[in-house]
């Protein structure tokens, strides 16, 4: 029993090769099984390579145990060319040996060639990756288009929108995410206050840190933190939910029953994200500035809350607030679209669920930062 793991028993299997004219006589003795073949394999293959013969004559009278692996190795003696397979003869007491050797001979002859790596493989991969990138962009835009048509079709008949589902998703996407987003934003506001304080104190303009916090939090940080958190939290959840539905053929069942997958799955999620994102962004703005205010007041001891708020009111125009807010629903939409699209792209395997979820988060964060840059250029041109 324990011989399966025992590697020292290789001595119990042996072979001898004898060439007689065009015929090779292979005499095998002992135990030819998985446990013993490791050492014999290399010896046998090396010996066979140096011999000249066509036909093989096996003698298995001394074989005590033969399994598929042993038969496979012994069958390597059989020579074949693309056109001809040279015959073999087998002398044995066991019918099982006959069947095994027939199977093994078939398998050695039908073995597919092993593919070698080519020097241009890396170029092929780069090309495929580039093609894949543009295909993904194209598919996402196409998906967005189908979503918009579904959304407007439903907006014309608002009672067909699944409001219950929308509200349930708002709870998950918006309400449940609020604490973590506010906490993170608070810390980011505090960090900006520290950085501003260090930099501006050397110039003697410490009070300008209020301007910095106001600008940075309102225009960029609040909305970006919200969007990235949503991408990590909700976008991945959308992909996993829809992906596992796809794997269990629930999506196919919906299609047959006549439920539109966009109306049932995508529109509620997208609406929930578009409604939640501005609210979350607003909360992130408040807590980000609170973080800055508390650092400025308690730790840096230069700026009281009254001074902070007065300065904020004086220098930060409402347009900065709106610049941040207007981006929020766009980011929310993009997150929902990418999450749903990747979920629907899941195929049957567990592997694809994992890779689609990863892809979904990466694409969502990429899209958010790319769009943010586009917004920055646009607002600069508009002068806001």
């Amino acid at each position: 029993m324990s011989e399966l793991t025992n590697t020292d028993s290789s001595a119990s299997a042996d072979f001898s090769l004898l060439v007689d004219g065009l015929t090779l006589k292979v005499t095998a003795i002992g135990d030819w099984s998985l446990a013993t073949i490791a050492t014999n394999h290399d010896r046998l293959v090396a010996a066979l390579d140096s011999l000249e013969y066509e036909n093989v004559d096996y003698d298995f009278d001394g074989v005590t145990n033969l399994d598929t692996a042993g038969a496979y190795i012994l069958a390597k003696a059989i020579r074949s060319t693309p056109d001809v397979c040279f015959p073999y003869e087998l002398r044995t007491q066991s019918r099982g040996h006959q069947v095994l050797m027939r199977e093994a001979a078939d398998a050695t002859i039908g073995r597919p060639a092993i593919r070698n790596r080519q020097w241009f493989d890396i170029l092929v991969r780069m090309g495929k990756a580039t093609e894949h990138f543009f295909a993904e962009v194209f598919d996402t835009l196409a998906f967005l288009g189908r979503f918009v048509t579904a959304l407007f079709r439903q907006l014309l008949t608002p009672h067909t929108i699944r409001w219950k589902s929308v509200v349930a998703h708002i709870e998950d996407v918006g309400l449940n995410a609020a604490p973590i987003i506010m906490t993170l934003s608070f810390f980011v506001g505090a960090v900006i206050a520290y950085m501003g304080a260090n930099l501006l104190a050397s110039l003697g303009f410490q009070v300008y840190m209020v301007d910095l916090i106001g600008f940075a939090v309102l225009r960029e940080f609040a909305v970006i933190i919200t969007a990235i958190l949503l991408a990590g939290r909700s976008d991945s959840a959308f992909t996993a939910q829809i992906g596992s539905m796809k794997m269990r053929q629930e999506i196919d069942a919906m299609e047959i029953i006549g439920l539109d997958r966009f109306e049932a799955l995508v529109v509620p999620r997208a609406l929930a994200c578009m409604l939640s994102a501005p609210i979350l962004t607003f909360l992130a703005m408040i807590s980000g500035m609170a973080g800055g205010l508390i650092v400025a007041w308690t730790i840096l001891e230069g700026i009281s809350p009254t001074l902070f708020l007065a300065r904020l009111q004086a220098v930060v125009e409402p347009s900065h607030f709106w610049v941040g807010m207007v981006k929020a629903p766009v980011f929310g939409l993009v997150i929902a679209i990418i999450g749903c699209r990747q979920g629907l792209a899941v195929t049957g395997s567990v592997e694809s669920l994992g890779s689609r979820t990863t892809k979904s988060v990466v694409q969502a964060i990429f899209a958010i930062i790319f769009l943010d840059a586009m917004f920055a250029i646009m607002f600069y041109q508009m002068g806001v």
Binding site: M1, S2, L4, T5, T7, S33, L34, A35, I37, A38, H41, D67, T68, A69, Y72, R95, G96, V99, L100, E103, A104, D106, A107, T108, G110, R111, P112, T347, G348, S349, V350, E351, S352
Partner: protein, 260 residues
């Protein structure tokens, strides 16, 4: 530990299993002879899967003993149990292939774990198993999600046979296959049994399989194996469930087909 291959590969004595108050098996006895194919039938909810899991050691028996080649499994050390497991191959109902691996890699898993062969040789042996179960060579690099139901079963069988086990468990091997695929799979099981000197225990509801492949049939009814015998004898057994099972129109058709 020495397994005595002359003794019955498996012997179940007084097995009992229960979940709380719900008794699934009570005083269940049967054995499998060396080299035979034993089919196991029983109604839905009769505890076939629980029995299979107990025999495989996935679930501990609540009462009674299971002997493999004369050894009581409950008394074996963890190492001996593992070497015993290496003598058992299992084809799960849906194949249970690892979905993140190709067919070839799936078959190589037991080889990697329990042998120290060089990798290229392992992959060649895996390819041979693929060939033996009748899959085309290109199936080696496919993932389970790319395979049809019948190919999954064949790939699962190839993995079950990777270590050349003595004992093979099949859970509904032909369920979900079309009649042609099912009868091809039946033939495959017979071929494998002859080539590899296997002892097979299969749970099946496929009457054609019972008639064409099984040497003996065990009936799991009333919490125990009521009878385990050759099919004609089983069909004479006067239990109402057995009579209903083997006297339906499907059974008659299968019997006629089997007789041909």
């Amino acid at each position: 530990m020495d397994l005595n291959y002359n003794l019955p590969p498996m012997q179940v004595k007084g097995l009992g299993s229960w979940f709380g108050d719900n008794v699934v098996h009570e005083n269940l006895n049967f054995h499998v002879n060396s080299g035979e194919i034993l089919g196991l039938v029983g109604g839905s909810g009769s505890g076939k899967t629980v029995l299979m899991n107990t025999l495989l050691g996935l679930k501990e028996a609540d009462a009674g003993d299971v002997y493999y080649f004369g050894q009581n499994r409950a008394e074996l050390s963890e190492n001996d149990r593992q070497s015993l497991r290496n003598q058992m191959g299992v084809l799960f109902q849906a194949g249970a292939l690892f979905s993140s691996m190709t067919v070839r890699q799936n078959i190589m898993v037991p080889l990697r774990e329990h042998t120290n062969l060089p990798l290229p040789l392992m992959s060649e042996i895996a390819d041979m198993k693929i060939h033996m179960v009748g899959l085309p060579a290109f199936a080696a690099t496919l993932y389970p999600s790319d395979l049809s139901g019948g190919m999954k079963k064949r790939a699962g069988l190839a993995r079950a046979l990777a270590l050349d086990p003595k004992l093979l468990f099949l859970d509904e091997p032909t369920a979900g296959l079309d009649p042609i695929g099912a009868s091809a799979f039946d033939t495959l099981i017979l071929e494998m049994r002859d080539a590899m000197d296997l002892t097979v225990l299969m749970i099946t509801h496929d009457l054609d399989t019972l008639f064409t492949v099984c040497d003996r049939v065990g009936v799991l009814v009333d919490k125990h194996i009521a009878i385990a015998d050759s099919l004609p004898n089983v069909m004479q057994y006067p239990h109402p469930w057995v009579q209903e099972y083997f006297s339906g129109p499907r059974a008659r058709a299968a019997q006629q087909a089997g007789a041909r």
